[in-house]
């Protein structure tokens, strides 16, 4: 196997006295597309910042491309922050934001050279935002804004692309587009690590997931990692996992809801998985309840 791009070895970090991440060990190899999952405060963003060198671990070592980040800072990792952190009133156009990604290659002069402009243009074309180059960043949709910041990150020609909740605050269609775009970039050779709260989106689009809650609870393909036991340990709550036609769905254990009164299973810690990948037949009264209560029936594919 190739050398890992990123390796965290027994890393502990604390803000103040309480450790946010503790004895974390993980590694990411070139070409991987990995998702960092966990509840709020589990240390996801802290891990990203440790990898980016924004934070220094109190214990343990972070290696990027085989080098200890403390001894030899790496600028081969690009970061896409949460869109919530952006000042949308800042006077800057899409083209100017994208060009920031080329800051290391640009010369002393304050303006961009022809080569800089061409590289930015090519990246904006690649991500489908070239026509918006002169528009203010506030005037874009959520998906387009995410593409603009992705373009900035990719223009830096990173070995690793790190994204902090790229799908937070966007609608489900935009979320799908962003994750498909990331999968496409990954197929083109970009190694990606992102955090997300959306387990179902992670199951559908991210081939490798790392469950974190101060420590790494589990890592692997979603098929293997998304079990009620692991998810309950990660989120400290009762989770239910459904498998249907090679798709994985994660849900919360209904609390004091009529479904639970009607169905003997699932109970906390159980998984509904059938050998042929279909959902087990539902009792007529549940079918009726679902049809009336839920916009999209969970076994719609079976109907097709």
């Amino acid at each position: 196997m190739s050398e890992p791009i990123v390796e965290l070895r027994d890393v502990t970090f604390a803000y103040g006295r309480s450790a946010v991440v503790e004895k974390v060990n993980l590694h990411l190899h070139p070409g991987q597309f990995a998702g960092l999952l966990g509840p709020s405060g589990s240390g996801k963003t802290t891990i990203l910042k440790l990898i980016l060198g924004m934070l220094k671990p109190q214990r343990g070592t972070v290696f990027v491309n085989g080098n200890d980040l403390q001894e030899r800072p790496s600028h081969r990792v690009s970061y896409v922050p949460q869109l919530e952190t952006i000042d949308w009133n800042f006077p800057v156009t899409v083209g100017q934001v994208v060009l920031m990604g080329r800051i290391r290659q640009m010369g002393l002069l304050p303006w961009a050279t022809r080569a800089d402009k061409d590289a930015a243009e090519e990246m904006m074309e690649r991500l489908g935002i070239a026509e918006m180059r002169a528009r203010h960043i506030r005037d874009l949709s959520g998906g387009q804004q995410q593409r603009a910041f992705l373009a900035r990150a990719l223009l830096a020609q990173p070995d690793l692309l790190v994204l902090d909740e790229p799908t937070a605050g966007v609608d489900i269609g935009t979320q799908e587009n962003i994750l498909r775009l990331l999968a496409k970039l990954n197929r083109e050779g970009v190694t990606i690590l992102m955090t997300t709260h959306d387990l179902n989106a992670a199951a559908a689009h991210i081939p490798w997931v790392i469950c974190l809650n101060r420590r790494v609870i589990a890592s692997g393909p979603p098929d293997e990692v998304f079990t009620p036991k692991i998810l309950s340990a990660t989120y400290k709550g009762n989770m239910v996992v459904f498998r249907h036609n090679d798709m994985l769905f994660v849900g919360e254990q209904p609390h004091d809801h009529s479904y639970r009164d009607l169905v003997p299973n699932p109970v906390a810690g159980d998984v509904i998985i059938t050998p042929n990948g279909n959902l087990p037949p539902l009792a007529p009264e549940i079918e009726k309840l679902i049809q009336s209560d839920v916009a999209s029936p969970i076994n719609s594919e079976a109907k097709d």
Binding site: L52, G53, M54, H75, V77, S78, Y79, P81, T85, I86, D87, F90, P91, V92, T93, Q96, V97, M100, G101, I103, R104, M106, L108, P110, H136, A156
Partner: protein, 291 residues
């Protein structure tokens, strides 16, 4: 015509006029970063802090620019570091550090009452007392600041826009912050005599805000702010002579007047914007959509 050009016959006015234009342009340039960093209050605070340094350097017999400069630079760095490291917010850090520094100045003045009148100029500005030496110092600081902005334009833009991420892209944030603190402290020190401690904040804030209301481009905002700063200073100085009003106050009033004009232009544009064509909403049933 002769009447219009009359003020320029006086040497003190010529020096004051040039000094005011340079100070206006300088404050307009540095003010863009101050405003966009959400530190508009820093001009007010830092000028008060530097007042403490000016008094201390007078008592110690140091050169004014050296003593006040060191004091101001240290205060600017302290504000930056305190706000970032202890997460208490820039406004609180400015409030604590600058008022403490100002208080030191007041304490020294109350101890050595004999020179209080010398500091009236620092507090309220005395552009008529500007000498050729002062003009040269202001010109020097303006040129050095312009060179800093030119050379670090990209880094300053990135840090101002997205400070945390800039470091991940290899920008040396701490170092650039120190350079910026130096430029800011120097700008405030050289502006003290022209505008006075009490009016520096307005010179730092009004030109960038006026241009921000007129453009969505950072580079246009920077150039526009410099021009508006210089223009308001020139107009303010000229009118202050003709109307016999304090120069600092007149410069700030000119800025405030342009702000009102920009506000009016924006409102006018908003009102002229055609209303969105709307069609009456017809309720659609889900069954119709499915069919």
């Amino acid at each position: 015509m002769e009447q219009l050009l009359m003020p320029f016959q006086f040497e003190f006015f010529r020096y004051g006029f040039v000094a005011a234009i340079l100070v206006g342009a300088l404050c307009g340039m540095i003010g863009v970063y101050v405003v966009l960093r959400g530190m508009s209050y820093i001009g007010h605070g830092l000028s008060h802090a530097i007042f403490g340094g000016a008094v201390a350097s007078y008592v110690l017999g140091w050169n004014f620019y050296l003593g006040a400069g060191l004091w101001g630079f240290t205060a600017a760095l302290l504000i930056n570091q305190t706000a970032r490291r202890y997460r208490i917010g820039a406004d609180a850090a400015i409030g604590i550090i600058t008022t403490a520094s100002f208080a030191i100045g007041v304490a020294i003045i109350s101890r050595y009452r004999r020179f209080t009148t010398n500091f009236d100029a620092a507090l309220f500005g005395n552009v008529l007392g500007v000498t050729l030496n002062d003009v040269l110092v202001i010109a020097g600081v303006t040129i050095v600041t312009a060179v800093i902005v030119f050379l670090f334009y990209k880094q300053l833009l990135f840090i101002t826009f997205d400070r945390e991420v800039a470091s991940a892209y290899g920008v040396r944030v701490e170092w650039i912050d120190a350079v910026f603190a130096f430029a800011l402290a120097a700008a405030i020190i050289v502006s003290m005599q022209t505008l006075g401690v009490t009016l520096i904040a307005a010179a730092l804030v009004i030109p960038p805000i006026v241009t921000r209301m007129l453009t969505d481009s950072f580079s246009h905002m920077l150039v526009g702010s410099v021009l508006i700063g210089a223009l308001t200073a020139a107009l303010g100085m000229y009118l202050s002579f003709q109307l016999d009003v304090a120069s600092g106050a007149m410069i700030v009033l000119m800025g405030a007047f342009l702000f009102v004009l920009a506000l009016g232009k924006r409102e006018f544009r908003r009102l002229r914007r055609p209303a969105l064509a709307t069609e009456p909403l017809v309720p659609v049933s889900a069954h119709d959509l499915l069919d």
